[in-house]
Assembly symmetry: C2
Homo-oligomer: 342 residues x 2
C-alpha cells in the first residue's frame, strides 16, 4: 500500500508525456531551449508547471558531473571571525551572486586539521568549487585544496611563492592604509605610529606596508619603535596603545589596522587624558558598526565587503566555466570615512 513514494515526484518522462513530446525534447526545453519549436516549448512549460515538476538534481549531476554546490570555507579555529561582520558581509555578497546562478553554498569550517581534512574530502566528493574566507594564512589548506584540483577563490591575498594557481579577491589594504596615514599627516600629525595586525595575516602585513609608504614619503621615520603588534581584538588594541604611549609619549597620530583595536586604543587614550582628536588623531580600518558608535566616532577605512563576496563568487563561476583560465587577482578599492577621531 503505502509504498516508499506515496505521491512520487513527477519525472521528466511524465512531463514529456503530458506535453506530447519526447523526453529529449522536454529536456532541451527545460535547459535553455535550442532547436525546439515554439509550440513544443509552450507545451512543455505548461505540462511542467501543471505537474509541478522539479528536476532531480542528483540525476542531472550524475550525468553532467556538476553538483551546483560551492563550499564557503572559514578557516578560523574559533568563532571570532565567524561572528565577524567581515564574514557576514562577504558571505551575503557571495550568496547573492551564487543564488542568481542557481548554485547553493555549503558552509564549512576549517579551523583545525581535522576539519580541514574533512573539508578537502567533502570538496573532492561533491563540491564544484570553493570560496575561502582566509583569515590567517593557512598554507596547509591552500596546498590541500590544490591537491584535489577544486576551483577556488580566496578572500584576501594569498602569499604563496612559486607557481601557484591561486585566485583571490582582496581589498586594497595597502592603499587604504596609506590613505589613512596620509589623512593623519595632512591634519598636521608629525609623530604617526601604528598598531598592526598579526604578521601571518595578509591584511595585517599589507596595512602595515601602507603606513610605511605614507610615513616614509613624508620623510618621517617608520621603524619598529613606532609600531606595536596586536591580534585584531579590542583587548590587544588596548595593550598596544598602552605600550606605544609609554614608548612614544609625544605621538600625535595613530593608524590602527582595524576598528576593534582602534576602539581599544581610544579607551586607553581617554584613560590617559589625551583628547581625541585634539591631542591624538586616530584612524581605524574596516568601518564596522563599532566605528560609528564609539566616542568619539572613528575615522576609518571602509572596504567593500559584500562586493568582495560577490566578486569572489563571480570569479569562481568564471573559473568553473573555463578551468584552463590563468589565475585572476582582483583588488577592490577602499574609501576613507572621515568621522570625529581624525
Amino acid at each position: 500500500m503505502a509504498g516508499r513514494t506515496p505521491n512520487a515526484r513527477p519525472t521528466l518522462e511524465m512531463v514529456a508525456a503530458a506535453a506530447g513530446v519526447s523526453r529529449g525534447t522536454a529536456s532541451r526545453v527545460l535547459s535553455g531551449a535550442h532547436n525546439v519549436s515554439p509550440s513544443a516549448v509552450a507545451a512543455v512549460h505548461k505540462a511542467a508547471s501543471e505537474l509541478r515538476y522539479r528536476p532531480n538534481l542528483s540525476a542531472r549531476s550524475l550525468v553532467t558531473g556538476r553538483t551546483g554546490l560551492v563550499g564557503l570555507v572559514v578557516n578560523e579555529s574559533n568563532d571570532h571571525l565567524f561572528s565577524d561582520p567581515y564574514f557576514a558581509e562577504v558571505a551575503r555578497g557571495a550568496h547573492d551572486a551564487l543564488s542568481e546562478a542557481d548554485v547553493a553554498m555549503v558552509l564549512t569550517l576549517a579551523g583545525d586539521a581535522r576539519e580541514r581534512d574533512r573539508l578537502i574530502d567533502l570538496a573532492a566528493l561533491r563540491l564544484d568549487g570553493l570560496l575561502v574566507i582566509h583569515g590567517h594564512s593557512d598554507l596547509e589548506l591552500v596546498r590541500g585544496i590544490e591537491r584535489v584540483h577544486v576551483p577556488t577563490v580566496f578572500s584576501g591575498r594569498v602569499p604563496i611563492t612559486g607557481e601557484s594557481h591561486v585566485w583571490y579577491v582582496d581589498a586594497d589594504n595597502r592603499g587604504g592604509a596609506r590613505a589613512a596615514t596620509e589623512h593623519l599627516l595632512a591634519r598636521g600629525c608629525r609623530t604617526v605610529v601604528t598598531i598592526t595586525g598579526p604578521r601571518d595575516m595578509a591584511a595585517g602585513h599589507d596595512r602595515h606596508d601602507g603606513w610605511v609608504d605614507a610615513v616614509t614619503t613624508a620623510g618621517l621615520p617608520a621603524d619598529d619603535t613606532r609600531l606595536a603588534v596586536g591580534d585584531f581584538s579590542t583587548d590587544s588594541g588596548r595593550a598596544a596603545m598602552t605600550d606605544l604611549l609609554a614608548r612614544v609619549p609625544d605621538l600625535d597620530g595613530v593608524f590602527v589596522a582595524n576598528d576593534l583595536m582602534a576602539v581599544g586604543a581610544l579607551a586607553v587614550l581617554a584613560e590617559h587624558g589625551r583628547s581625541v582628536p585634539a591631542d591624538v588623531a586616530v584612524v581605524g580600518f574596516d568601518d564596522v558598526e563599532a566605528a560609528r558608535t564609539s566616542s568619539p566616532s572613528l575615522t576609518t577605512v571602509a572596504q567593500p565587503m559584500a562586493d568582495i563576496g560577490r566578486r569572489m563568487a563571480e570569479l569562481l563561476l568564471t573559473q568553473l566555466a573555463d578551468t584552463e583560465l590563468a589565475p585572476i587577482h582582483e583588488v577592490l578599492p577602499t574609501t576613507l570615512v572621515v568621522r570625529d577621531s581624525a
Copy 2:
C-alpha cells in the same frame, strides 16, 4: 587527447575488479558491511584506498533519494542576526553534529519573500531537511516549508496554533527571565522594570512572561507602565531606558531582554548619574561578548547556543531516520551569570 576526464575518478566497478569481488559486494562493504566475509572486506578496503576511491554522491543520491544536504536557514532581512553570535554559535553546534553524520550544511537566507520562495524551491529540490534559525516569527515561511514536506527543526519556539508538525529547540527564555528577575528581587530591588524585545519574536514574548512571573509572585505590579519595548538593538535599549527613567523615576532594578539593549541601558543610566548596581541593578540576557566588556560588567542569563544548534541537528537527523515521528519540542536550561551590574 585531453578528453573530458583526463584521469577519471575510479568507480565502484573498478574497486570491485581490483578486489576480485563483484560490484554488489564492494558496495556492501563500503556502506556498513553486512553479510560479507572478512577477507572480502579487507580486499575491498585495500583496493579502495589504493585507487583513492571516492563514491559518487550524485549516483548514490539518485538511488537512495537522499542528498546528505541540510539547509541552514536564516530568516533575517539584513545581516544583523547573521553577524550575531547567536547565529554563529548555533551554526557551529549544528555544523559539528551534522558533519559527524556526514551531512553537509547549505547556508540559505530567507529574509524577504523572494529569498523565501527560492529557499523553499531549493529545499524541495535537493535538501533532506532544514534547520531554521527563526528570529521574528515568519508564518509564511513555516507554512511554505510545511507545504513541501521537508523535515525541519526550528530554533526558538514557533507559536503556531492548530495542528502543526513543527519541531523546535529553544532555550528556557521564560525560566531564565524569571531567574534574572528573582535575582533582582533577592538583591532587594522593589521597583523592577523591564525592557522587552519585539512581541513578534517568541524570545521577546517569553522573556517578558518570565519577568511577569517573578514580579507578580513577589506581589509587585507587572503592568505595562513598568515596561518598554525595544528591538534587541543597542540604540533601542538606550531609547527604552530613557523612556522608563522618565516614567518610573524610582526604578531600582531593570531586567533587559538581551545584552545589546542592556548595554544601551547602562550608558543611559550612567548619563543620568545613576550608579549601577548601587542605585539601579541591571540584568541582561544572552551572555554575549559585550556583557563581559561593558562597564560595569553585565549580570546576564546565558543560553547554551552551541547546544541548541547541536540538538537541532540531532533532532533533524532523528526525524530524517523516521519521518512518522511526532513533533518534539525541546527546551534547554539557561544559567544566570552574576557579574557587577546586579
